[in-house]
Amino acid sequence: MDQTQILTGLTWNDAAYLLPEVTLVAMAILITLLDLAMPNKLSRGFIGWLSLAGVVLSLFFVVLQMLQMNPPDGSAGTDVVRLLGDSYRVDDLANILKITLLTATALIILMGIQSIKRDDAITDKGEVYTLLLPAVAGALMLASTADLVTLYVGLELLSISTYVLAGIRKRSVKSSEAAFKYIVLGGISSAFILFGMSYIYGVTGTTNFGGIGAALGPALADYEALIYLGFFFIIGGFAIKIAAAPFHAWAPDVYQGAPVPVTAFLAVVSKGAALAALLRLLFTTVLFQTAMFTGQGTSQFGPDMLFALKALAASAMIVGTTAALRQRNLKRLLALSGVANAGYLLVPIAVGMTPLHTSNISEFAFYFIAYVFMNIGAFAVLSVVGRSAGHDELKGYAGLYYRAPWTAAAMVILLLSLAGLPVSGGFFGKLFILLGAAGREDYWLAAIMIVTSVISYYFYFSIIRQMFLRTGDTGEPIRMPFSAGLTLWICAAATLALGLFPNPLMSWIQDIVSLPADLFILQ
């Protein structure tokens, strides 16, 4: 079961494990060169498809790796490949997240190709894709990282690319404002994380997650305050990245200013990758200081950190939901819904493990996958309706049922999923997280989850109300561009399928993830 390959150097053979990331970077370079070399008057339309091909190719390599590591015939595979002095891990957890992140990116590109092409405020269409691909590469690094330095590099690669992407609508003041806000807040977030890391490194003498985990116990005796401070700063920095309240104030403005595909990317890929890195970092360090590993009552550090995370999750759920109640702009509303969802996704990380509850990764991954589909689908509708109405206000959805009945029907599925109502992936995602929290006897957290979900009915159903109960100013039908329509239907179908048959996905995740190999990085 526990087969580990430790590769210290980097031979050509080992480099094959980096193919997904390399593909993306290579494709980014190719697109840049093409964009530069092509005469200005030629259309850049195909560049979008080219970048989509790059993402799909990268996805293909990840799937290939996954099959190699978990042979379908049931023979023993490899559990984990450790690369580059144990700073980069290719394991099942990373692969699951990479598949999700790449699928999400592919869907976002598919959804955005038309809207980017038609957006006059984006002057250099090629640049969108040139920046998108390195951002995804950064996200993949975050999913695989096992070292503070790699983590930071991945995070910055993702962040800096998205700073520019947020401001890509150069002729729009809103977009520039969004980019500016994002840079400032993102910079603060990076500074927080870096500052926290410096303490952790100073105390433990290593940047490796496993090393930190091993050194933390002894170090706690002498430097407790510094370790607390270091982790608080890291968690705070990540809270900004994932837009968890009270560190969320940038999200509505940035989401509103950025073009829809970029917004979707921020809401799904950027948030998911940062959460994934946080999960791995905390599970390999903080978790080892909890009762499951050290016995009852030896140190308060682990429980305290988990409590901080629980508080963060609770405040994200409460603030995100209540702030969304009065929101009439759909992009801002989805930003706030994303804040609440960051809270839901933090719950499986925050509740910790006991011998009787170790399914945190499945709960996290299942809800994240459901979140990917329901959010991207909603953004697909947003991009089309927003364009037809000329704004993203709620009243633009009035009478959508008459103007595009099938789109409205698909949107209902997505909204039900966002609200956590059956039959949808969002329902089971939340249910599994809930059962996990209740199984850990964190009843108050479970209660907050349920109550905020119910409050969220109000604003999700206000969209439904506009679509079905009101009539709009114009009765003209809205034509869905093929690629956006395809994205919408893939997302709606996946959401519905996860709601009817959550079993295969849940079991699959549980089958291939192995806790000792994937999480507990022991030296």
Partner: protein
Amino acid sequence: MPEQIPWLTVLTFSPLVGILVLLFLPKANSRALRTAAILTTLVPLVVSLWLFAQYDPSAQAGGIFVEQTPWITAALNSEALNGVASYVYEFQYYLAADGLSLPLIVLAALVATMAAFASVHINKRWKAFYIWFLLLETGMLGVFMARDLVLFFLFFELTLISLFFLIGIWGLFNREKAANTFLIYNGLGSAIMLIAFVLLIVTAGFQSVPDGEAMRLVYSGNYETIMANLADPAAYVNIPDAQANGSNPFFMSEGMRWLVFILIFVAFAIKLPVLPFHTWMLRVHAEAPPSVVMIHSGVLLKMGAYGLLRFGVFLFPQQADDAAYVIALLGVANILYGAITAFVQNEFKLVLAYSSISHMGIVLLGIASLNQIGLQGAVFQLVSHGLISALLFLIVGSLYERTGTTDLRELGGLARALPFMSGVLLTAGMASLGLPGLSGFVGEFLAFLGLFDSMKGVTAIAAVGVILTAVYVLRSVLKITFGPMSERYAALNDARLIEAVPMIALLAFILLLGVYPSILTDSMQHGFDRLFEQLNSRVGG
């Protein structure tokens, strides 16, 4: 009929097949859509009647129809545990129909068919209407059969979503507000229910099953498992921390049991509705289209009482026993408040809405009695009130279609213009006030009789409500049918055939239950046996 056909599944999901048919019909052809919808609702009706006839109450457990198959078996990580073969969440597709469920299933199927007839008054977006309508039917049939907590929740929410659309799109002037109020109240109700269910699954739902050498640990949503575990002193849920090496995460303390019981009670009290939670239901009664109110008042309110019995009283008999007095008092409050307020209403629909509150109070009394007669009375009252209120709202719909108002001050003397409908209205009114020979009497009588055993004083006060019922029913019904008639009503036409058919059918069932009540009470003969066993063992031990 051959045995291998999964009849319960057919019963539950045949409306979905109807939806598929509807999708292919032209959306402007209201007649074809209606016919298809009516024909679709006949399938569950026929199947449920057949099952009811087949049901053998004397066979105890053997007579129950069951369909059970694994649905979600989500593996949890067992790596951290030694000697464990697997560690899973297990939620089943588990439908069952026993003596408690069957009458309500028949009621739901019957009212749905009648409401499909009554939907002749719907005047826009027919296709969408019947799609939501049939989804609602699947939801409510499923609620009465589901025996897995997650599955139950799924069906329960299905009724919530479809009813939101039915009220919001096809309701009267204030429909949006009504739909919103409905959504918020019931959303809150199902949230509370979900908290209770989650608590049950992670404590009482836990069991370890030997699997060869190792153990198989299961968090189950199975209703029977949870019920058995709660009653079994050797189950994990009943072993305190002190006896289990210091900690047992599955133990349910006395306080926790009370918490879950109260959560379940409140969740379903909102649906029923019990007194402080009733405002949403008035709005729905006033604003929803009459055919939807037929279902709402006739079936959906009954889901509250059903849930209260199935998940509150059956799972926590001791808590129910201790709380019986409070439940009875709430019942009395419902009866009197509903009756008195109904008396001063000028809007006929609100009279009926308050009358529903009053009648649901009687159900609470029956539940509070916790004996065979009282519980039978409660269920009988559910079915009977379902039929009567469906009939009354059917008439309301037809009246409104003709007169454009249901305000008592503007109606009068309609017996001359609409003799048939007025006759039906009078009979329904008589049934509602509990005239012997009609179904309303039996339910009330049994419930009072049951409660008289344990709480004589409360029963006496509650009985006053019966008199009040007679007063407000007669006041409003007579106001509509007799007295001077406004000139503008002279030219009204009496009920058309498509309206008369459901009226006669519902009336026939009301009469049947009134003169031959044992057709229903027999089916419940052993429905409460397990409950009494537990209650008796408590008294004995």
